[in-house]
């Protein structure tokens, strides 16, 4: 942890979200300070993506409050989040395939002179940004459709940085990347922290999480299941929190390898459920 100010930039207090009969989030709390990388982990369906979407304004929350720099705000639309200074890189990237790289980078925050697009300023800025991030793509003027998966990922991350946001949310940024690109993205996350951005990093990859995160916030079945400082927490403790510590595949397996007889009983019990 580098500089952690007293008031969190973004704080969620008791946030709940329902989709029809599904209670996707229940009373979730989360705090992100400036210059802090918070890893958000949890199993599939734990509510990570839903939580991110409530922050980004894609799904308005049903209950609870969102505080921005200490005061309560409503985030009902993606625009609200952008105005506050929250930038999101979605897992599905949300790029427009038919538009070129420059247009995608500046989509929703185009540089204009009057009401006319300033293509030259945008292209210049895009090149500078991609160069500072050491992002290699064939050209900034080709449609995103013709980029490879990794290239699309870095374009999507670069796009989040266009508006100089205070909070950057990365949803599984390294899932589709090769070794070198993963390292670049992790470097990028550290650079964001050094520049004083708050980062929310969703990842299944514990190595990535432990490499860059300051705190790990665990979600389980739509609820908080602990916030751990990365330095003082072991890998196993996080896994335990993710999977539900007492009875899970990991402990069952450990029990099974230790005493094969006892394991049979557990499995039978599991099947009976």
């Amino acid at each position: 942890m580098i500089h952690v100010s007293a008031t969190p930039v973004l704080a969620l207090r008791g946030v709940s979200k329902r989709f029809g009969a599904v209670q996707a989030l229940t009373d979730v709390d989360l705090e992100i300070h400036a210059g802090e990388v918070v890893a958000l982990v949890g199993d599939n369906g734990a509510g990570k993506s839903t939580l991110v979407k409530t922050i980004a304004g894609v799904h308005p929350i049903d209950d609870g409050t969102i505080e921005w720099e200490g005061r309560a705000v409503r985030i009902n639309r993606p625009n609200d989040a952008q105005t506050l200074g929250i930038a999101t890189v979605y897992q599905d990237l949300a790029l427009c395939d038919n538009l070129d790289v420059v247009a995608n980078l500046f989509l929703g925050s185009e540089i204009t002179s009057g009401s006319v697009l300033n293509e030259i300023a945008m292209e210049k800025r895009a090149k500078e940004l991609l160069d500072t991030l050491s992002i290699r793509i064939p050209s900034v003027r080709i449609p995103v459709a013709s980029l490879s998966g990794g290239q699309r990922q870095v374009v999507a991350i670069a796009r989040a940085l266009i508006g100089d946001p205070k909070i950057v949310i990365l949803d599984e940024p390294t899932a589709a990347l090769g070794v070198e690109q993963t390292a670049q993205v992790l470097d990028l996350v550290e650079r964001l922290r050094e520049r004083g951005h708050g980062v929310i990093l969703i990842s299944h990859n514990m190595a990535d999480v432990r490499a860059v995160a300051d705190k790990v916030a665990v979600l389980r079945l739509g609820r908080n299941n602990g916030v751990f400082p990365v330095k003082d927490t072991s890998h196993e403790e996080i896994i335990a929190a993710i999977t539900g510590a007492t009875d899970n595949a990991v402990t069952r397996r450990q029990a099974r390898t230790a005493t094969p007889a006892g394991a049979t009983a557990t499995v039978t019990k599991e099947d009976a459920k």
């Binding site: 980004a56 894609v58 639309r77 993606p78 625009n79 952008q82 999101t88 979605y90 990237l93 949300a94 790029l95 427009c96 395939d97 038919n98 538009l99 070129d100 247009a103 989509l107 929703g108 925050s109 185009e110 204009t112 009401s115 006319v116 697009l117 293509e119 030259i120 300023a121 292209e123 210049k124 090149k127 991609l130 160069d131 050491s134 992002i135 290699r136 793509i137 064939p138 050209s139 900034v140 003027r141 080709i142 449609p143 459709a145 013709s146 980029l147 490879s148 290239q151």
Partner: protein, 445 residues
């Protein structure tokens, strides 16, 4: 990227955006002089300087399925040659003027459809909205003696209102655009017939605005040549200015040879048309309808390519969800596009009324809708959304009207004309689909 890695022969041109046609990625030498940029992808294919590079770029694009307007140009040339051989009046002044004037009304309606198609939707109501627009104007101006300009303005606004209504039903309530505008197609033609009353038609008064829309010609020869000159100079100036600004920003810019070539092609085309409209026997000069059509095209093209709104339309057409997450008000974009389509439909309706001598019950019915959509598609706007150009309305409508004009000159029956126009539309859609598939395999779609 896949197409690049497969063909890494040196000298193959760089990837290039069709929208801006900016050469992508300057040659390494140019890059070094501008700024020491380490991050140039070694696999990046660099476009050669000069005309040779332009040609290889062009052939590569065609092979990759980016046909653009090429099939239409070839089609137009074939049409011109075939009909001229059959009947030497086809390229005469009156025939060309006819094509221009008949293209204008439906072409303006097609501009609206281009926007709707870029959005990835369809508007089936344009014919009926055109009829309503003409009827509103006729009832206000002819039957109730309202001021000509005011009546035209109200007709346009009523088209806008109907279009916005379609947009609200589509965007806010979520009824598929196909169904909303189909309901509009039926409903508004009923409204049109009801407004025109028992007689079913209101004739255009002579000398009024609507009569002049297609009846007025700038007989002074300076008009046609002047417009051609302004168009060529404007085109060249915009290219040069763009190149200069890009150079100043040390971005790759068009080579001068390419600017000269492009300007020359545009100049030849403009002045040949101006000459045919002015000089031969029976020439009446520059038709006002053509001027208005071109004005609508220039404004609409500017909106589509150079404004935030245009960018948003393309974004929604490419991926509505991505656009929404980028903070674009998708509903607003959709409603405005349908409103725009309605207003341009009403404007086009006034042209049709002008040509047919008045607002009638049948105005906008029959094959109006089909011709308008066909024009947009033949011109190269994709039915699948996200890709298209405003100028395709002009190109497609010229193709359709040229065929009709040619078949009329040959005295072909209208049933034959329908069949031939249908075949041309089918060919255009086939080209669209095939080129899309080629682009996918070349990694460009």
């Amino acid at each position: 990227m896949s197409d690049l890695t497969k063909t890494p022969e040196p000298g193959t041109p760089a990837e290039q955006s069709a929208a801006t046609k900016a050469p992508a990625g300057a040659a390494p030498a140019a890059e070094q002089s501008a700024a020491p940029l380490p991050a140039v992808d070694p696999r990046l294919l660099v476009r050669e300087e000069g005309l040779k590079g332009y040609w290889t770029e062009f052939t590569r694009k065609v092979r990759g399925g980016e046909l653009g307007s090429l099939p239409v140009f070839i089609g137009l040339i074939v049409i011109a040659i075939v009909f001229q051989l059959q009947n030497d009046k086809f390229l005469s002044a009156s025939s060309v003027a006819n094509i221009a004037v008949y293209s204008a009304g439906l072409g303006i309606m097609a501009v609206g459809i281009v926007f709707v198609l870029i959005l990835g939707e369809i508007d089936l109501s344009v014919g009926s909205v055109a009829g309503v627009g003409a009827a509103v104007w006729a009832v206000l101006n002819v039957s109730n003696g309202m001021n000509d300009w005011l009546a035209v303005a109200i007709a346009l606004l009523s088209g806008l209102a109907l279009g916005l209504l379609h947009g609200v039903f589509f965007a806010k309530i979520g009824v598929p655009a196909f169904v909303v505008t189909l309901a509009g197609f039926l409903g508004w033609s009923g409204l049109q017939i009801w407004m025109l009353g028992s007689e079913g038609s209101i004739n255009t008064p002579s000398g009024g605005i609507v009569e002049n829309l297609t009846g007025y010609y700038f007989e002074d020869k300076a008009a046609a040549y002047g417009l051609a000159l302004v168009a060529v100079l404007g085109y060249a100036a915009s290219l040069l200015l763009d190149a200069k600004r890009r150079k100043a920003a040390s971005l790759p810019s068009r080579p001068t040879s390419e600017i000269v070539l492009r300007t020359a092609v545009v100049a030849v085309f403009c002045f040949v048309v101006a000459y045919v409209l002015n000089e031969p026997e029976g020439a009446r000069g520059l038709p006002l309808a053509l001027v208005l059509f071109l004005a609508v095209l220039v404004v609409a093209d500017f909106v589509a390519r150079r404004t935030t709104f245009g960018r948003q339309v393309f974004a929604v057409g490419g991926s509505a969800e991505a656009a929404r997450r980028a903070g674009i008000n998708v509903d607003r974009v959709r409603i405005i596009v349908f409103g725009l389509s309605g207003m341009l439909a009403a404007f086009g309706g006034l042209f049709v009324a002008s040509l047919s001598g008045g607002a009638t019950k049948n105005l906008g019915s029959g094959n109006t809708l089909m011709l308008v959509i066909a024009a947009a598609v033949i011109g190269g706007t994709s039915l699948f959304g996200g890709r298209g150009k405003v100028w395709s309305a002009l190109l497609g409508m010229i193709v359709i009207q040229s065929i009709q004009q040619g078949l009329n000159l040959l005295g072909m029956a209208s049933e034959i004309q329908y069949m031939i126009t249908g075949a041309v539309l089918l060919a255009a859609v086939v080209i669209d689909s095939v080129s899309r598939r080629t682009q996918k395999t070349a990694g460009r779609a």
